[in-house]
């Protein structure tokens, strides 16, 4: 994997907002690479900065209150400082994004066909007839029955799953190198979610697209991601291959998060309590001095309170931000606070 060159290199990305209560840093020193044909999963709870990370790369945050620092290198251009006309050529063309709410991200007053055509008009040199053919072809690719008829329909005439498939069709119509999917299935039913994930996996192998998949659902990550980055309160706390994250987590938070999901057909008995993580995520305005997870961690010691750990990269390329990473080989029971 490492012999290929990454298509997106993010280095020390910090995004802060000016708010009524003073500046707040939502994403703090994030570094990662994205490789073609690979799915990078970003996991974390609400407010951990996963969406801000993706929107920073696309520069979709309100300019007047947002400050970026660091670098997001895409084909030699730093996306964080590129001018707006350059960004317009990148957005939807080389880097496309799908959002959680397919209803609010489609324009309700235009037909599906019009919205597909708009993307093609801006980013390709196809003529009108070719664009129409391509639109129909894209809808067929995402398994929409009757694409010739559907293309003349409005978003409200489609079901939730179909709207999300239209969003994917629009995102993919210019064959982007990178697809950012921000909670693409959270608003959908599981049987529809299965259709969308199946579709995204198929497209990744067919078009060699790199996917950044943002979700809070660990099941979705387990089934689709190749590498996983776990975020907590604006920081990356662990980054590793999907196998290592699920079977040999090193950060107590990752382990506790995995333990707190009810297991399907699992070994636990009914009536058992779930090993929950106590407390809640600290406010970004009142971050503790040391490790951001200290208050909820079962292993916290004085050092965790005094000093925030660095993100350490191991020999195998794994990264973890913890003074006392869990022994990867030992069986541990973490987070079982009852």
């Amino acid at each position: 994997m490492n012999d290929r060159s990454p298509c997106l290199r993010v280095r020390h990305l910090c995004t802060s907002f000016r708010t009524d209560r003073g500046p707040v840093t939502a994403v703090d020193d994030i570094t990662f690479d994205v490789y073609p044909g690979e799915t990078l999963g970003i996991v974390g709870e609400s407010g951990c900065g996963k969406t801000v990370t993706s929107k920073s790369i696309m520069r979709l945050l309100p300019d007047h209150i947002t400050r970026y620092s660091g670098e997001a290198d895409f084909r030699g251009t730093n996306l964080l400082t590129a001018d707006e006309s350059k960004m317009r050529r990148v957005r939807g063309d080389s880097i496309a994004m799908i959002f959680q709410e397919p209803m609010t991200s489609l324009n309700p007053v235009f037909t599906v066909g019009w919205q597909l055509d708009e993307a093609l008009k801006y980013h390709t040199s196809l003529n009108k007839r070719q664009r129409r053919e391509r639109s129909v072809e894209m809808l067929r690719l995402v398994d929409i029955p009757n694409p010739e008829k559907r293309i003349r329909e409005y978003p409200h005439q489609l079901s939730g799953g179909m709207r999300q498939r239209v969003m994917i069709a629009i995102a993919l119509c210019c064959e982007p190198e990178i697809l950012i999917a921000d909670e693409p299935t959270t608003a959908l039913d599981v049987t529809i979610q299965a259709q969308i994930l199946d579709l995204m996996n198929g497209l990744k192998s067919k078009l060699n697209t790199a996917i950044i998949l943002i979700t809070h659902d660990l099941g979705v990550i387990a089934q689709t991601a190749d590498r996983v980055m776990v975020m907590y309160a604006g920081r990356v706390i662990e980054s590793a291959s999907v196998h290592d994250i699920f079977h040999r987590p090193q950060h107590p938070y990752t382990k506790a998060l995995l333990d707190s999901i009810p297991k399907a057909g699992g070994t636990e008995k009914q009536g058992d309590r779930l090993p929950a993580i106590r407390g809640m995520v600290p406010s970004l305005f009142e971050l503790p001095k040391g490790c951001r997870f200290q208050e909820r961690c079962d292993y916290a010691e004085q050092r965790c309170i005094d000093l925030e750990p660095e993100l350490v990269t191991g020999d195998d390329g794994r990264q973890v931000r913890c003074h006392f990473p869990l022994d990867a080989n030992a069986k541990l029971t973490v987070g079982a606070t009852s």
Binding site: G219, F246, P262, R273
Partner: protein, 329 residues
């Protein structure tokens, strides 16, 4: 006799349309559902959006009026009771909603919110109001200073705890939990589930847990009803659902749930076809448009929910085609 007996419960909503906004049809939200809940049991209702699971919960406790059918609560049929006659039962059945923000009055502090309820149902004499409120707040794991705060000052998980305190205040016997953890993060979800579980033990509550998440239902409940388009298609013990589920829809739901293990990647079960509209459901089995095992008779007639303990509504599973053919010979 079971604590709660639902027989042939039907709820239709009128569908209006045209220039005069006349009733042009009806939406079949719940279609003749029958089941029992025993005292102290936790029954899970699982299904996708629009299957009627929330409508069923709300109709059961008469937040909605049933179109047909009987609701026996502790031996009394409450399906047709008027508002005054219903009042003593209201206290005994409470509901916890999905969105704890929109279900709490934003202008009332937690104290006022709980006080209103306690005094309306005359649960405790006025002198004991304050200690009871503080006790409740403590029971659901909130800090005592929460009493003077407004709902917007809390996080989602804490708000859900207030919702639970509100439901518990009147000492109910039955709790309908309508997607109580769906809006919460995984780590908070586990906290709230644990809290619900503890309170259920502590107060001997009977719980009906409505959710779209089969994993949560499996963890929390004793028995599961699987709903599809207003029908119960399968009723099964929670600990057997993985091995013994028979209905093609239940099997599809199980298969569509992503497994939390990257080494166990299997193609997710992808159902073809779309859910029929509840406004104009096709004759026969509601799942026919997406069912991998569909046969001719599925398109003609709705299969009955059959079985002892483990009930399934499916022609193909209950009487396989070759058995029918053998019987005909």
């Amino acid at each position: 006799m079971a604590f709660i007996e639902i027989r042939n419960l039907v709820k239709h909503f009128p569908k209006r349309g045209g220039v005069l906004n006349r009733v042009v049809g009806k939406v079949h939200a719940v279609n003749g559902v029958s089941f029992d809940i025993n005292q102290g049991e936790t029954l899970g209702i699982v299904g996708e959006s629009g299957c009627g699971k929330s409508t069923l919960g709300k109709t059961m406790i008469r937040l909605l009026d049933p179109t047909e059918g009987t609701i026996r609560f502790d031996g009394h049929d409450i399906a047709d009771l008027g508002p005054a006659a219903m009042m003593p039962y209201r206290r005994r059945m409470q509901i916890i909603f999905q969105d704890p923000y929109s279900s709490l009055n934003p202008r009332l502090t937690v104290r006022a919110l709980l006080k209103e309820e306690l005094s309306f149902h005359k649960i405790v004499p006025p002198a004991e109001l304050e200690p009871t409120i503080l006790k409740l707040i403590e029971t659901v794991g909130l800090r005592p200073d929460s009493a003077d705060k407004f709902p917007h000052e809390f996080s989602g998980g804490q708000r859900q705890r207030i919702g639970i305190a509100r439901a518990l205040a009147v000492k109910p016997e039955l709790i309908i939990a309508d997607e109580p953890v769906s809006a919460l993060d995984v780590s908070i979800q586990a906290q709230v589930l644990n809290l619900l579980k503890d309170l259920k033990e502590q107060f001997g509550l009977t719980v009906m847990f409505v959710s779209h998440d089969l994993k949560v239902i499996e963890h929390f409940c004793d028995r599961i009803l699987v709903m599809y388009l207003g029908y119960v298609v399968e009723e099964i013990d929670a600990d057997r659902v993985h091995e013994k589920a028979k209905h093609p829809y239940t099997i599809a739901l199980l298969g569509a749930n992503p497994i939390d293990d990257p080494d166990d990647r299997r193609p997710l079960v992808v159902l073809k076809g779309d859910v029929p509209s509840p406004y104009n459901p096709p004759p026969g089995c509601p799942f026919q448009t997406r069912c991998p095992k569909v046969e001719d008779r599925c398109r003609r007639e709705m299969p009955p929910l059959e079985g002892d303990g483990h009930r399934v509504a499916c022609w193909v599973v209950n009487e396989p085609a070759d058995a029918v053919a053998a019987g005909a010979e």
